[in-house]
């Protein structure tokens, strides 16, 4: 089964991340790098995203053209910082990988719709 892991966090998580010292940041990235290396065989496309302040959205109403707005779709305190596609046998295996995520915040696991 293919899943996408969405690496999410609240504004507080983002603030805590931004407050990391250079050394701490290096350590964090090292941990994350190790995590990706460890699960390399299961991970497909993955990327870290620029912050929500860089987001642009095209919103579609029931009819008519989309309207371009500044800002992310998720308007609350949550934001998505990155994603990784994984290919595993079941949710338990996905959970096992997600549990070891060193980036803190919240990891949302979503199954990918695959054509039969």
């Amino acid at each position: 089964v293919k899943y996408v892991l969405l690496f999410c966090g609240t504004d507080e998580d983002a603030a805590a991340f931004a407050a990391l010292s250079e050394v701490e940041l290096k350590e964090r990235y090292a941990l994350v790098g190790r995590w990706f290396a460890e699960h390399r065989s299961r991970i497909g496309a993955s990327n870290q995203l620029q912050g929500p302040e860089t987001a642009t959205s095209v919103r579609f109403g029931p009819t008519g053209p989309g309207v371009v707005t500044d800002g992310p779709f998720l308007e609350g305190k949550e934001q998505i910082g990155g994603y990784a596609e994984i290919d595993v046998t079941d949710l338990d295996q996905a959970l096992e990988i997600a549990r070891t995520w060193p980036g803190r915040g919240t990891v949302e696991i979503r199954p990918v719709i695959t054509s039969r």
């Binding site: 949710l91 338990d92 696991i109 199954p111």
Partner: protein, 259 residues
């Protein structure tokens, strides 16, 4: 187990049978429905279809047996009917092509030895942490204990449609999110056991009297089995006694939660 239970609740069934037969049937159905569902979920990997064909088989028995008498091998009879219905269902849906051979090969005799494991797997799947506590409880009562949505609704003073919806959503999540059908390995058993115990505990304390005995027996039965398995695995893995202690059915259960 059959015939030893006297809290028969026949509401929702309009078939006229004698009281004694009705009680025997209700008890028998409760026992067999969990067993059958568990085996069919293993073969089909689909809760909805498994429950549907089991319901069909029980319905047929409910009509036939008061007239024809209960067959000597009641479990085998039900299994044969349910399997036949499952084959029909599977033929209609190309997604299940690979399951046909499995179904054809699955005889009650072969299903029997794996039976207890199947039901234990079913219990762990129903109580997977990816499902809400409410969904876990409803699904366990439906599939492991064989209560009808109406009975579950009555027990928790919720509307039947709400329970049906809860069950549908839970089954869909199991299928689409890829929640596996198995007992977790020893490394994860302890953390998964809490949810199972919370549900089993609710079977003891949160249900009206007439359902309690049946469900508690079913839950405790599986609970003891988990305890034995954990003890065995823990010993084999030299993982110490932590897992064993938590699996002790006599140990204090998690605090009661409402549904």
């Amino acid at each position: 187990m059959a015939g030893s239970w006297h809290g028969g609740d026949s509401s929702g069934h309009n078939v006229a049978v004698t009281t004694a037969t009705e009680e025997t049937l209700t008890a028998l159905f409760r026992e067999e429905s969990g067993r059958l569902t568990a085996s069919l979920v293993r073969v089909l990997g689909d809760f909805a279809v498994a429950e549907e064909v089991v319901a069909d088989a029980l319905m047929l028995a409910w009509r036939r047996w008061p007239v024809d008498g209960i067959p000597g091998n009641a479990a085998g009879w039900l299994w044969t009917v349910a399997r036949r219905r499952a084959v029909d269902q599977v033929r209609r849906d190309t997604r299940y092509v690979g399951k046909l051979a499995l179904l054809a090969a699955a005889t009650p005799e072969q299903a029997e030895p794996a039976d207890e494991d199947d039901r234990l797997r079913l219990l762990f799947t129903c109580c997977h942490p990816a499902l809400s506590h409410e969904a876990q409880v409803a699904l366990t009562l439906r599939t492991v204990c064989g209560l009808t949505p109406a009975q579950i609704a009555g027990a928790f003073l919720v509307s039947e449609s709400a329970i049906v919806q809860r069950l549908t959503r839970a089954r869909r999540k199991i299928a689409t999110a890829g929640i596996p059908y198995r007992v977790p390995d020893v490394d994860h058993l302890a953390e998964r056991l809490d949810a199972v115990l919370a549900v089993v505990y609710l079977l003891f304390n949160g249900l009206p009297h007439e359902h309690r005995r049946q469900c508690a027996a079913a839950g405790l039965d599986r609970g003891c089995r988990v305890a034995r398995d954990v003890a065995r695995s823990a010993y084999a893995h030299r993982a110490g006694g932590a897992g064993t202690a938590r699996a002790d059915p006599a140990a204090p259960c998690p605090r009661r939660r409402t549904v």
